[in-house]
Structure formats: C-alpha cells, structure tokens
C-alpha cells in the first residue's frame, strides 16, 4: 500500500485515504458552448493513458477532501511529486526521474516477466 503526500495536509498518508480522479491539467474550455465537436471530444473523451510519467489528479477524500495533482510513474507505480490544484504542470526533478527510470528497469512488469513468455 502506497504512501501518498497530500500537498494540503503536508503529510504522507496511506493510499486508502485517497481516490484517483483522472488525468490532470485538462482545463474546461472557457466558452464551452461554442467549441467544435472535435474540441469537445478532445476535452472530454480523449486521454493520453501514457506509460511511464503521467500527471493525474487525486483527491484526499478520506482526509482533507482536497483535489490535487500528482506526477506518477505508471511503470514503477511511484509518486514522483504532488502539488496543489491550480498550479501549472510541474517539471519532475531530474534526480527523481532518473531514480524512477532506474527502478523501472528493476521492477517486475507483465512485459518483463510473463510477457517474454509469449
């Protein structure tokens, strides 16, 4: 069970207290009623679902209740950083990124274990 740092409580808390809330930094268009179908699809339906470094929203739902942003590596399942909602996308410190990538190589993934059995 992961520990997640809530940027509002300024504390590492157990994963049980949090809920995932989708990809981060997708702003609701200002004049939403005037955007095209394509723009709406881009805003509402399409997500990157990237492997590796992703920015996503989490909510400290069984704590302070606040939504915040997190940079997480989906391969190592490591939280690289968390920051308050409303802040622009934060660059992940290089050292952390390196560590995550190094760990990525040591961490068991489906591709690395069962995958090469194919």
């Amino acid at each position: 069970m992961l520990l997640i740092h809530c940027p509002y409580c300024e504390d590492d808390r157990s994963e049980l207290e949090f809920r995932w809330a989708g990809e981060a930094h997708i702003a609701r268009p200002e004049a939403i009623s005037e955007i095209s179908d394509e723009e709406f699809a881009e805003y509402f339906f399409l997500r990157n679902n990237e492997k590796g470094l992703t920015y996503e929203r989490w909510r400290h739902i069984h704590g302070c209740g606040r939504f915040f942003n997190a940079a997480r590596d989906t391969v190592s399942d490591r939280f690289l950083m968390t920051y308050k909602a409303g802040l622009p996308k934060q660059p992940v410190p290089v050292a952390d990124k390196m560590a995550a990538t190094a760990e990525e190589k040591t961490v068991e993934t489906w591709e690395a274990t069962e995958g090469d059995a194919r």
Binding site: M1, L3, S33, F40
Partner: protein
C-alpha cells in the same frame, strides 16, 4: 511406563527441549497418542514411529514428513477441535500439538494404508504433465458435466469445513522504525543492535520460540553459551525493552509498497482451551521505515528415483526433531547428500545412539573436517556414490547405492533416509519488495542484488555463510552496535541443484521435484520437449511450484533441470516471481472484523426501529435499509402495497425519506454555482421556494436529480438520489475546487443530519397542521414547492411542500435525533385519521402513476433530459452549465433516440417484466430489431390496471402505436402512451 516412553518409543532420553512430564493427548486417524507440550504434530507422530501421514495429490503415493518447518509440502493434515473448528491442509511441521486435538490424514479413501486412488500411480505413464490439458478436450460439453467434477473429486487436497467459523479474528495497525523478519542469530543480533539506538523495533518470527536454525543446530555456541539458550536470553532481554515488540508464531507474509508489511499472528491455535475472548489469529498491518530481512535459508532435497517414500526427509529436519523435540526419526538411518551440513545430522543421531547405515555423498571431495569427524565416530561414508532408488511401500526399507558412473550396486537397509542438496536462501520477502536478484554462480543460488526499498538482507538469506561475518552484517543492519561472539563447529561446503545420478534425461524414473504437486524431473523435461521454453510456461504446464508451498523446495531444482534441457545458463532461463503470501494465510485473518454485520455495514435511518416494530419488510438500497412495505396480518406483499397505494391517494400516508442525499450549499455565490452544476436556472428561484433540478454530466446525460430548496439568498438545501449522494458531492467538490475555485461556496453533506418524514395525500395538511409551529401552511400561504424553516413539536425543522406521489404533500426535516419522536407523533395523527405508513414499493408505484422518473432505474447514463421528457428543466437562457456542450452533440440531438414513454398492456391484468425488450414486429425472425426496454412496471391499484415506463426508439412519435414484448412463453401486446397514468390534470398536488 515412564512419561517419556508414553510420549513415544522414539524419544531419546536427555535429548530435546521439552519437559517429559508435560503431556498432551491427541488422536491421529482415530488412534490416540500422547505428545509432549511443545511438540509439533510432526514431531509427536515421529516420536511414535508414524511416518506415513498422507497421500500425494496426483498419484496418491504414500507420503511422510519431509521437513520440520513451514516449507513442508507433504504432511498436510486436517486438524480440529470440534465440528466447526476444523482446518484442512494444516502443515504437521508447523501445527503445535494441543491436548484434545483431533487430527486426520487427507486425500485417501478408504484408508491411509489402502487408498484406491493409488492406482493412479500404476497408471502414471498416462498422467504425465499436461495430461489433463490434452485428454479432456472433447467434447466440450463433457468438461463441465463429467471431467471437471471427477478430476476435482480425485485431485482435491483437504476438505473445507461447511460450518460457520465460530472463532473471531483481530486486526491491528502499527508503525515502527525497524521491522526484522526472522529471529535467528542474524535477526536477534540485528534487533539488539537496532534496539540499542532507541529505535522502535518489531522482531517477528513464525516459530513458537526465537532461534531459527538454532532449533536444530546444536553445535553453534554464542557468547560462550549453547546457541539456542543464547537466543532465548537475547529474546528475554529484547522483550524487557519498551521500544521492542517481539512477536512469535507470527509470519511476515507480505512485503508491499513503502515499507508496508503484513503479519499473521497465530494466537490460539496451539492452546488446548483458549479463552473465549482471545482472537484465533491477528492481522498486523505495519508501516515501517526500514526492514531487516533475516529469513535464513531452506534446505533442498535430493532429486532421485522414489525419493518420496515415508521416512525420507531433509537432514536438517531430522536434526531439528532430535535436538529440539528429542525424537529420533529412525533406528537405522541413511544419509544421502551433496552438502556437508547433512553430516552434522548423522553426527548428532550417532551420538544419540542411533545407528547410521551410511553417508552416501555424491561428491568426490566433501569437506575434510566432516569426513574426519565421520571417521572418528565410525560412520561409513561413501563418497562419489549416489542413491539411485529406494524400496518400501508405506515406509522406506532400503536404499540402492551406486558408485557414480559405475555399476557397483548395493542395497542398504535403512528405516529412514536423510537428504540434503544444499541450501536455498529465502529471498521471498526481498523479491516481494521488488528487489532484483542476481545468480551466484559459484554457489548456485539467487541472492539479493538491487534493492527497491529501504531494506537490507542479512545472514542466510543474503548468502552470508560465515557466522562471524553474519553477526557483523546483522549488527550493522540494525543501525547500532552489539557485541556477539559466535562459533560454528564445521564450515560447510557443497550443494547441487537439479536431478542427481540415476535421474538424468536418459531415465524414466519418478524423481520428485515438487512433492505437493507430484512433479517429477521427467515432467519438467517433457515440458521443455513440448516447446515450453520460458520458466513461466514450464511452471504452468507442469504446475511445479504452484502448490500451497509455492515451490520452496522445488523451484531451484525445477529451474536447473529446465536449464539443462534448454542448454542455457540458469540466469537466462530466469526465476519465477515470488508473491505474497509467504505461507498461506487464513481468510479469517484477512477478513478479521469485516464479517457478518460488519462485512458491509448497513445504514439505518433514525426511524428504523419504529418501522421494524410496525412490521416493515426492508429492502437494501445501496447500504441503506429502507422500509419496503408494511404488511398487516394475513397480507402478502401485493395486498399490502395495493392497500398502501389506495390509502395514500384516498386519505394519506407517512413515508421515511431520510435516506435521500442532502447537501447544504452555502455562500454568496451559491446560486451561481448551482446554475453551473444543474441544467435549471437557480438565480430566478426566490428564497422560500424549491424546484426540481436535473444534474447532467459534461456529456449531457442525466447524472442525478432532486428537489433543491432556497432557504435564503446564500443558502440552498439540495437533495440527491439515495444512491447518488456521495458521488454528487464528489462531483460538486471537483468542479468547485478545480474549475470554479473563484466562487465563494461551501458544500456540506447533511444526509445523516436530517430525519425526513414525508406526509402525502389529501389529509396531509390535516395530519401535520397541529404539530407545525410558527408557519401558516395553508394552500395560499404555503403553496406547492414552498420551503420554510419552522418548528415542529418544538423542534427546529425545515418544512418542504413537495410531492413524489402527485398528492398534496409535505416533507418534514428535523434533526436526526428528534426523528423518532416526530415520526411517532405524525404516525399517531395519521393513523387516527385513517392514513397509513407506506414503504418504498408504494412510493415507486405512486410516482410511476404520475410518470416521475427514478434516476438509475428509468435512466442508465445514456439518457438526456429531452429523452426523459424533462427538457422543460433545461434552461435555454444560461450560457454555461455542466452538460451544455454535451447536449449539442450530433448524436444527442438526432431524431429517433430512445425516449421515455408509458406502456399500457392490451390486457390490463398483464404486468410487464422490468428489463423486457420491445419490438415492433413480433413475427420477425431472430435476431429481432429491438426498439428498447421496459424500465419500470407495476400493478396500479389506483388505475385498476398495469402501468409501465419504457425507453423506446422514437418513442414520443409512437403515441397510440401497438408494440410487442416477446417473453419466453408468449408475446404481450402493448400500447404506447404518455407517462401520466393518474390525475392527468395534476390538480391533486395543489389540494
């Protein structure tokens, strides 16, 4: 007879650590035995010369006790206290004997010594690896009806108890600085070191006492003491320290993310008469800053023909039975080894007076020191020899010994055979922590390499063989310092993995690799020949290492045999992944308190008990218990609901609406916020008025609905559906915090703060009027959709004039604690006037008679307000609300969408089934064109006919059309109608 003779003829006087006078009686397969307190079931049975304890999984071969620890694959027994307290698949080497234990062997019929399933062994040429996959393929149908039931009956291990588990289980959270897994020499040293720094230390060991390998290793001295005694005194010192928690009989079963550790503590399984207040087991969920893994290593067996007969066991196990339990595993014992450690077992037994038939060592050059000692003790050692076969049906009688590569064959009589192929470091927890292993080629073992978490492996599990080095390593790992001096008698060398002499690729013998799943060396070679080249495939094809022991003995042998066949080095073939739990954990432990009423706690309204006393039947709505209907004597559900429906419309009814979600929306921008979250316009709603609101998601589909009352300019009382309350609040918080953070609004869940009593029907006003204070509730002063704060029976209240029945109605909100008192008063008034209590079923029928939708029943996440006939509730003037753009999407504005309509069956007595499909042409061949489905359907007593609501393609354009509902036995003709079946003019609501 002396106590020690009583406790078994194989007890050795003066050996072992149990007190001869303290005995415990138990039965095994109905026969009574005496054990000593501290015995495991295995040691107690061996003390009586009982080796045969089970039948193997697939071939039903007689099996004995192979190990003395949790890695045991063979001796799985059924242990019970009474009928309900029965546990199958208990490892005899772990379970401590308690007085009165009833123990039975498994997987045999009719008896352990004569088992019909044993014919599988004779037929084994047909039962090679993959046999089931290949044989039971055709016909497909037969798999469920024939093959699977037979295979399951034949291949099962123990039988699960059918009674409810009467024991209780506990659960605890803990935090610490250092958690040490394993309390052998390394673990104890690390704990002493860590504790000396003042750190908060958890020291955890699965055995009843600390000591680890010192249980069997009687030759090691520490600080001038016998090793085992040193361990006990170290434990006593640690226990006395306030910063140390020492847990024995506790398994570290899982090492998860961020230092999260799962422990299973067995509290009462060893007790004869456990106190009723004690939990049977306790789950610990520990978050630790650092882990010291000191889990030691596990001895491997030798892989040779018929290496599975009862009486054949690991050398360290025999040593443990002798040195800890005082039991000799035989009177004339042979040893077959590739490692020096087995010699020490022979030395211990020899000194205890047991005859050693021979030490057969497959190596040409064993360690010089052990050879010399063997000579000094007069033990016959055959180096460069191998055991290539054994004999004895229910117990080993002899071993066949061959000079390696030669033909010099001889049979040696033995009644027990000890074996050792060397030691496998227990890297399970390290691997679970996501650490990466490396292969130590010189010692043919996997060792910790790259760490993924803040942990450190010390001692045997780290490949540290030298005891002085081990102590240094463990002391450093603890972070403090401790002075411990230890000495071994012998330095060990040797070890092998893979098949031994006489069990090579050119043979067809049964040399078992995995005892629990009956996997032989031949099976693994077959898997490779059949094209399995990945260890993951080989594992699944053969099931090697997939039994409940997870291959603690078999993995390395299996890997070596596969690598040899593939002609690839071991690290390239790879190791299968170790996963939690390390040993099986009972469901009881994992579930702990979360069972029965606490499994999924029921939510009850303040008036629950009053309704139960009134005879209510309840239904589950999410976690809520809601009164469903109130049957009177002799009434079935149908009769009760009909009566309630009639009474509400003719006189009145009282209904508990407390479960509706309630959110208090407060702040100067509250109206603007609701404007953005609901389709309706809220700035036009005056304080003192309420309005039905619809919430859509950004995609334009209905998400929730409810009545919203404006109590003041800056205060709204929002209601949601019963099931929708949490997600609606989450949805609102999401927008408020992240999209509209400039709005000054505060949201508070008040669902459980208010008890809500709905009073509906022509006499609703008359029922509540005398109880309402400080408010004129006449039709003129308080018309439909009014809301006001007032007091009811002296209790501060919020009164809504609203209706989900189409009748004159009020909803009385009072603080939850006052709910029962106010409910009682309203109920008494109502019943005196001839009104009744009604439940959710009547509520459903009455709302359907008026065509009011229920979100989630009549909508399914693909229904727009327009589809549901609610376009009037969507503001045309607003320039923004959540869903405004989604509603303009081409598919949402096209014609022919499924729309909510009413359905009347041609025969008014027919009640449609909810979910039934609707077609235009009942004679169309399958697959028929389905137009939609029935969403709500009831018998309406008030209409004297059935009524239904349905989502039908282009429904609003089909008014009066005849459609069909094909059922399994007949087709029902229906007429499309509007959704208002009762009081079409809607006058009653303003009564």
């Amino acid at each position: 007879m002396s106590a020690s003779e009583n406790s078994g003829g194989f007890r050795i006087k003066g050996a072992g650590r149990h007190t001869p006078a303290r005995t415990a009686r138990f039965t095994f397969d109905g026969k009574s035995y005496t054990a000593l307190e501290g015995d495991t079931v295995a040691s107690a049975l061996l003390a009586h010369g009982v080796h045969l304890v089970g039948r193997s999984f697939k071939y039903h071969r007689p099996r004995g006790i192979l190990t003395s620890g949790p890695e045991e694959p063979n001796a799985l027994l059924d242990v019970s206290r009474d009928a309900a307290r029965r546990q199958p698949n208990v490892r005899a080497t772990v379970q401590e004997v308690f007085d009165g234990a009833k123990i039975a062997s498994q997987n045999r019929w009719p008896s352990l010594t004569f088992d019909v399933g044993g014919f599988n062994d004779v037929l084994s040429p047909f039962f090679a690896a993959g046999f089931y996959y290949k044989t039971f393929m055709w016909p497909r149908e037969a798999w469920h009806r024939l093959y699977e039931p037979i295979i399951r009956r034949a291949a099962g291990l123990g039988e699960a108890p059918k009674e409810v588990d009467p024991d209780h289980y506990a659960s605890r959270f803990a935090h610490c600085d250092v958690l040490i897994a394993g309390a052998g020499v390394a673990g104890l040293t690390a704990a002493l070191s860590a504790a000396s720094t003042g750190a908060n230390v958890f020291l955890v060991d699965e055995q009843p006492e600390v000591g680890g390998a010192l249980h069997y290793d009687a030759a090691t001295t520490i600080d001038g003491q016998n090793g085992y005694d040193w361990a006990q005194s170290a434990a006593a010192r640690l226990k006395a320290m306030p910063n140390v928690t020492l847990l024995t009989r506790t398994t570290v079963f899982g090492y998860y993310n961020h230092g999260f550790i799962g422990l299973a503590e067995r509290v009462t399984d060893h007790m004869a008469r456990p106190g009723r207040d004690l939990p049977r087991e306790r789950l610990w969920q520990v978050r630790t800053k650092k882990v010291v893994i000191a889990t030691g290593s596990i001895e491997r067996h030798m892989v040779f023909a018929n290496n599975d007969r009862p009486g054949i066991m690991l050398a360290s196990a025999a040593r443990s039975f002798l040195n800890h339990h005082g039991v000799a595993v035989g009177r004339n014992v042979g040893v077959y080894t590739a490692h020096d450690s087995a010699y020490e077992a022979a030395f211990d037994l020899k000194r205890a007076g047991v005859s050693i038939a021979a030490i057969v060592d497959c190596r040409a050059d064993p360690g010089a020191a052990v050879l010399e000692e063997a000579r000094a003790l007069g033990i016959d050692v055959l180096t460069g020899h191998s055991v290539t076969d054994t004999a004895g049906r229910l117990r080993i009688k002899s071993m066949t010994v061959v000079r390696n590569g030669g033909s010099d064959t001889r049979k040696i009589k033995v009644d027990a055979l000890l074996m050792s192929a060397g030691w496998t470091p227990s890297v399970h927890l390290f691997s679970q922590s996501r650490g990466k292993l490396r292969f130590d080629d010189s010692n043919q073992r996997f060792l910790p390499d790259i760490y993924a978490q803040n942990c450190v492996s010390v001692g045997g599990c780290n490949g540290t063989d030298d005891i002085a080095e081990l102590i240094e390593e463990a002391s450093a790992a603890g972070g403090g310092s401790v002075s411990v001096t230890a000495a071994n008698r012998f330095e060990w060398t040797g070890g092998m993995i893979g098949a031994a002499e006489g069990a090579g690729p050119d043979t067809a013998v049964k040399a078992f690799v995995d005892f629990q799943h009956d996997v032989t060396a031949k099976d693994i070679r077959l898997a490779v020949r059949e094209g399995m080249h990945s260890i993951e495939h080989i594992k699944r094809f053969t099931t090697n290492g997939m039994a409940s022991d997870q291959g603690k003995l078999s993995n390395m042998h299996g890997l070596a045999i596969a690598a040899e066949m593939l002609g690839r080095p071991i690290p390239q073939v790879g190791l299968t992944t170790f996963r939690a739990p390390y040993t099986p954990v009972t469901y009881g432990t994992l579930v702990a308190h979360s069972r029965d009423d606490l499994f999924d706690p029921a939510r009850k309204t303040p008036m629950h008990a009053l309704q139960a006393a009134a005879g209510a039947e309840f239904e589950d709505v999410g976690n809520w218990k809601r009164a469903w209907y109130f049957p009177k004597r002799g009434e079935d559900m149908h009769a009760a609901v009909n009566r309630e429906c009639r009474t509400v419309r003719e006189i009145g009814g009282v209904f508990d609406a407390s479960t509706l979600g309630k959110i208090e929306v407060v702040g100067p921008d509250a109206a603007q916020f609701l404007n953005l979250l609901y389709t309706n316009a809220w700035d036009t709603l005056k304080p003192g008025k309420s309005r039905y609101g619809i919430m859509t998601r950004e995609d334009g589909f209905i998400y929730d609905d409810g009545v919203v009352g404006r109590l003041a300019e800056d205060r709204f009382h929002v209601t949601t559906t019963t099931g929708g309350a949490p997600r609606v609040l989450h949805h609102m918080e999401d927008y408020l915090q992240t999209e509209f953070p400039h709005l000054k609004v505060w949201l508070t869940s008040t669902t459980e703060q208010w008890a809500v009593i709905a009073v509906q029907g022509p006499k609703a006003r008359e029922i509540i009027a005398p109880l309402v204070e400080g408010l004129d509730i006449s039709n003129e002063a308080f018309p439909h959709m009014s809301v006001s704060e007032c007091s009811v029976m002296g209790v501060p209240a919020r009164l809504f004039r609203m209706s989900f029945t189409g009748e004159l109605g009020f909803e009385v909100n009072v603080p939850a604690d006052y709910g029962p008192a106010v409910w009682t008063a309203i109920r008494d008034r109502a019943e005196a006037l001839g009104a009744c209590l009604y439940g959710t079923e009547t509520m459903h029928v009455l709302r359907a008679e008026k065509g009011y939708i229920i979100v989630g029943q009549d909508t399914d996440g693909t229904v727009t307000p327009e589809d549901a006939g609610l376009s009037w509730a969507v503001s045309k003037k607003k320039t923004d609300f959540v869903g405004i753009r989604g509603l303009q999407r081409p598919d949402l504005v096209r014609g022919g969408r499924k729309q909510l309509v009413g359905l009347k069956t041609k025969d008014p007595r027919d009640v449609l089934e909810e979910g039934a499909q609707i077609v235009a042409d009942p004679n169309q061949p399958k697959p028929m064109t389905m137009l939609g489905h029935v969403t709500s359907s009831y018998w309406s007593e008030n209409c004297g006919r059935s009524i239904a609501m349905a989502l039908v393609a282009g429904g609003k354009a089909r008014m009066g059309e005849t459609l069909y509902v094909p059922m399994a036995d007949r087709t029902i003709a229906v007429e499309v109608s509007d959704m208002v079946f009762f009081d079409k003019e809607g006058g009653r609501i303003n009564g």
